[in-house]
Symmetry: D2
Subunit: 366 residues, 4 copies
């Protein structure tokens, strides 16, 4: 068996091309009214499903690495590379919509009826991707008032439920953020220091506005109000109680501690030890945005293809897709971290020890 390594492999067999290239079964041809463009329709959906499989392959391995007790530093680099690959694939999926757009509505009509009521809603793998990332049943659009699972059979439904209950990437990343060891370090309390820094920044800014001889009085008032509002905003969102109220009322999802850890990572992202964590959070936002763009472009394409009429799945495809584009976003809270940042010049200085811990030096000196 070990020697099989040396047997001869041929490209054709390795890729199972005989099987692969015989799976395009045009219904229009089977029904005696061959429509040239149905082949494109099948192939582009099959290509999507192959990419879905690849994405799941990456996401499953990433979740697996997050699940090990101590997250290993070597793994983190691999986690990052695999998430970046997922982004590259979704980017390609967005480009692929252009192939579908070479089909005109009239060409689609030639075989559209033969597909009824099959629909993209029925893609099991796409639902698995969303759930693995962290989309919960309650976050989803319902399907004519019923669960999105209604289009799947029992075994598929069970698989989807298992994913939803098994700990999504969202929850794994949240847990990892909460464990970050940087928030408290030998007497340095990041959150207290940050709140103080915000206060100082605001006070200084207000003083500068009041002292200015060049700002017209009316403008001064407006600017002072803006700075004040900004101050209350920070106070508000940096408070644990307020954050927990927001979670309870569904306004955000990421836990308080994880949020503060993500804030720290964003603020000190050029420290070498935070480089991978920062890139990782960025990549999660990327994936979220790219999936949103994909749903959105998809909605546009359906609109052009069939107008406002209902899709083959029996519902208005365009409306559904357009609505899910934003609603199915998962890492919104990470995007919102941006509103908590202050300029570098106002940042609290890290204590010596922590700074050393977070950085290291290359170069002749060492």
């Amino acid at each position: 068996m070990a020697n099989e390594k040396y047997s001869t492999v041929h490209y054709h067999n390795y890729l199972e091309l005989d099987a692969l290239l015989s799976l395009q079964k045009e219904r229009s041809a089977a029904l005696g009214k061959a429509a040239h463009d149905e082949t494109l329709f099948i192939i582009m959906h099959q290509v999507y499903e192959l990419w879905f499989k690849q994405i799941l392959h990456e996401l499953d391995s990433v979740c697996g690495m997050f699940r090990t007790e101590t997250v290993n530093a070597d793994n983190m680099q691999t986690v990052l590379l695999r998430l970046q690959r997922v982004s590259v694939i979704i980017d390609l999926m967005i480009e692929q919509i252009k192939t579908m757009e070479t089909m005109t509505p009239l060409d689609f009509l030639e075989f559209r009826d033969f597909l009824f009521p099959a629909s993209g809603f029925q893609s099991m793998q796409f639902r698995m991707i969303e759930s693995t990332l962290g989309l919960r049943e309650e976050d989803r659009m319902t399907y004519h008032g019923k669960s999105y699972k209604i289009v799947f059979n029992e075994e598929q439904t069970a698989r989807l439920t298992a994913i939803e209950e098994g700990g999504s990437l969202f929850e794994l990343v949240e847990g990892w953020l909460e464990r970050t060891p940087f928030l408290r370090f030998e007497g340095f309390d990041f959150l207290t220091a940050y709140k103080k820094a915000v206060d100082e920044m605001v006070t200084k800014e207000q003083a500068a506005i009041r002292a200015s001889e060049y700002i017209p009085p009316k403008m001064k008032e407006m600017r002072l109000r803006m700075v004040g509002d900004s101050n209350s905003y920070f106070k508000h969102v940096l408070s644990r109680e307020e954050h927990e109220r927001m979670i309870a009322e569904g306004e955000c999802r990421l836990s308080y501690n994880a949020t503060i850890a993500a804030l720290l990572i964003n603020l000190y992202r050029e420290k070498p030890i935070l480089s991978i964590p920062f890139n990782l959070l960025t990549e999660l936002m990327n994936i979220d945005e790219l999936l949103t763009t994909w749903r959105y472009r998809h909605a546009q394409m359906v609109m052009r293809m069939i107008g406002n009429k209902i899709g083959t799945g029996g519902s208005s495809g365009h409306d559904y897709l357009a609505k899910t584009a934003e609603k199915h976003k998962i890492f919104k809270d990470l995007h919102n971290i941006s509103s908590l940042l202050i300029p570098r010049s106002s940042l609290p200085v890290l204590p010596e020890g922590l700074g050393r811990e977070l950085g290291f030096y290359y170069g002749s000196g060492a």
Copy 2:
């Protein structure tokens, strides 16, 4: 003077590079707190404005050609090529957002305050593009309850109003569609023939469903209802009275006659004489979709950059952009034509004479 043709031209002077490359005036540097990334911010906006100028150059020439009494066939091909160029440029503008995304929120904070209250809302050229395409003042989002023109000076406001009143591309295309000579041709009335074809198609389809031994009764009912609904839909939207009611109530904008002409062009698009018109309508939809995608991606980028907080222009940039993405669409009615199409096999056959008129033959025979 004619001989200047032969004087020596140098790339550097031709492109006015001395001037061009001195127009990046970083405010952060001027104020003594040089922020590395402000240069990118300036350059990418200047590049956008250069592309806007190019788009206006194309749109103005296209409108000019539509305005001539008899639209010349040679012009139509040029019109098409120029609109296609506009699409290619907007596609590039969408790609360009990626350069902005290489800037992190923290880097932006380094100079963001210096820009207050400048804002992309103040791009005169972008407003001109929208108005030239056909966006009316009443279609636009208001700006804190006021006209979008409030951020422009008197002369700029006057220019925008002149464009709005001067006949937009939407109106010019509408007029051109209304003049299409194919709707009535020696006794052939397209609309009557089409309504009849829809009727026949529906009747045939219903009979087939009723006769089927394979469709379960419950499914039969559902399918019959769908076909019936589809029939009322066609009756509804092909009626002139109904169409005029929709226009009056703001549900659509394109005139009845222009809509029917666009329908004909879509249905018989492979007839050579309709090739350019079909491509032209397609290109208008493309431009509309691409601008929508650009606004949408732009909104995503702003969200990542500053979260839900207000933009430098003093309003929530993300919300504004996300809302205008769909609302500022101009050629929606062309997209909706898709819902009026029926399969080729059910199409009314064109009378011999018209068919000949619309087609011509290459090849040995002729």
Copy 3:
């Protein structure tokens, strides 16, 4: 059977997902040394093969349409749309290289040995695409001094030979160009008129240079020589004898008559009747360029993956691909038409009748 139309279709079955998603058989896993990235390697090649199938589907239909006795005008529009689709697909294939680039050389080493000696050289469908477009056996790079067919089995070799002998798209387009009815029209001989126009243009230009008071004498000389050279160039390449010598010596391939017809189409491309022919020639050049870019980018990727070492197929993949990039170009002669053009202002005016024939008018007037 006819009623099967109404049976229930499910997305999952329609796309044969059970089969499709079970065709990724990682050899590293089978041999007990599972390498995570082999899945990507398999899936991206399978996706390529699916797109190859789609491209062949389009090219075969296009060739079929060209083969009918009288090329029908309606078909030409469809031919164009299908070639444009091929371009969109190859564009996507180029983008797809980015997915492969997310794999590092070290990751590839984990399973590379298991694939020996399978290789992309063995893709039957890609060879079919090249041959269908018009690449002849003699135009190809040899494979270690032997025919490229050596890696295929008997049945595959027979299919490739059949395509090579069956009339490629190059030959079909050449024949169609030769049949274009515009070269001679009621006493108007395009070629004679064109040669005369070139002469007049050159004479006028030389006179202007000589008469100029502003060009320095040395510069005058240089410019006169350039115009003169340009004149001989035109004389040279517009001569039938010279053209036939070039074909005989393998310097070009497209027949003299076809070349002149392509020249005419390029010169008068805004005439409506030439719109589709012009777009068609453009699309063939596009496809050629895109395939070249794909090979080239592919070569770059292989270089990064394995350096200058030999590929899994046992030859230096990078060198092979880099060399074929230019060598396997098929429609070079169409690209070269550009060098035969003169400015619109110097073009021979078409006789009234021909002008009318080539154009038609939309609009109120007619």
Copy 4:
């Protein structure tokens, strides 16, 4: 002055739009024969020059950071982000070629003569980019047998020479690699360990081939020979003497020590401390490849535009560009590192201390 911060900034003034939008001076219009497409020609070149300025802004800052005595770890992250930005910009520049491709050769002819002899060869900033990256005068294509600097004036020539002599990014990265502290660490000598690992891998592989019952004798011979060749290859390229001979004869450029350091970084790239260095080397290769692709696509576009005839600069633009595409590559040696890698399973194990130094742990445990 400090208060200027609060003065009012308007988008229009901030971007210097009045000046910017008046720099498009069409020569065709000035000479009384306005050609519509010249505006595109000017604008797309001006956009390129703006991006060139941005690229130089990034490269200069990166070189500056490399020049400081001890390269600071925080800087390295910033270096990486700025190089990634350069890649994103060149990617966009490649896309931009599509805007130029919307111009047909005939449209270009309308104003091409007016530009003589201006040419893209005369772009000062592009030469500065190449030299800053590390292209030496001797690596460049000559210009009709003369230095590429001949098209520049004295002051420009001086600036180019200063860059060439001032220490390019290539040299700065080489120096930094040579200083990497990992090659020798408390008694561990990486190179010796690596050569031993290669030997062991080869011996094991040969034994496995000889012992196999499944490989046909002829195939065995071939495989043994391949493994043997591979062994000599490694011996060869890992030898300092051989490497120095190659440098002397111009076959490679990167110093021996820098090459070995780059090899180590590639082999252990998932160690956290090597994450940024690995990404940095990758990004340099990216930039090199993207510039190559840009030159190549540019050459294709020129070919389509003017065929094989000479460009406005008086030389065959296509040939020049096609040749420089590969020849002007700067970081070839980094690409070649791939051929020196062996699979992870055969890698020498790092001594405990070094492993700890290179990695660190996130998570609960610590």
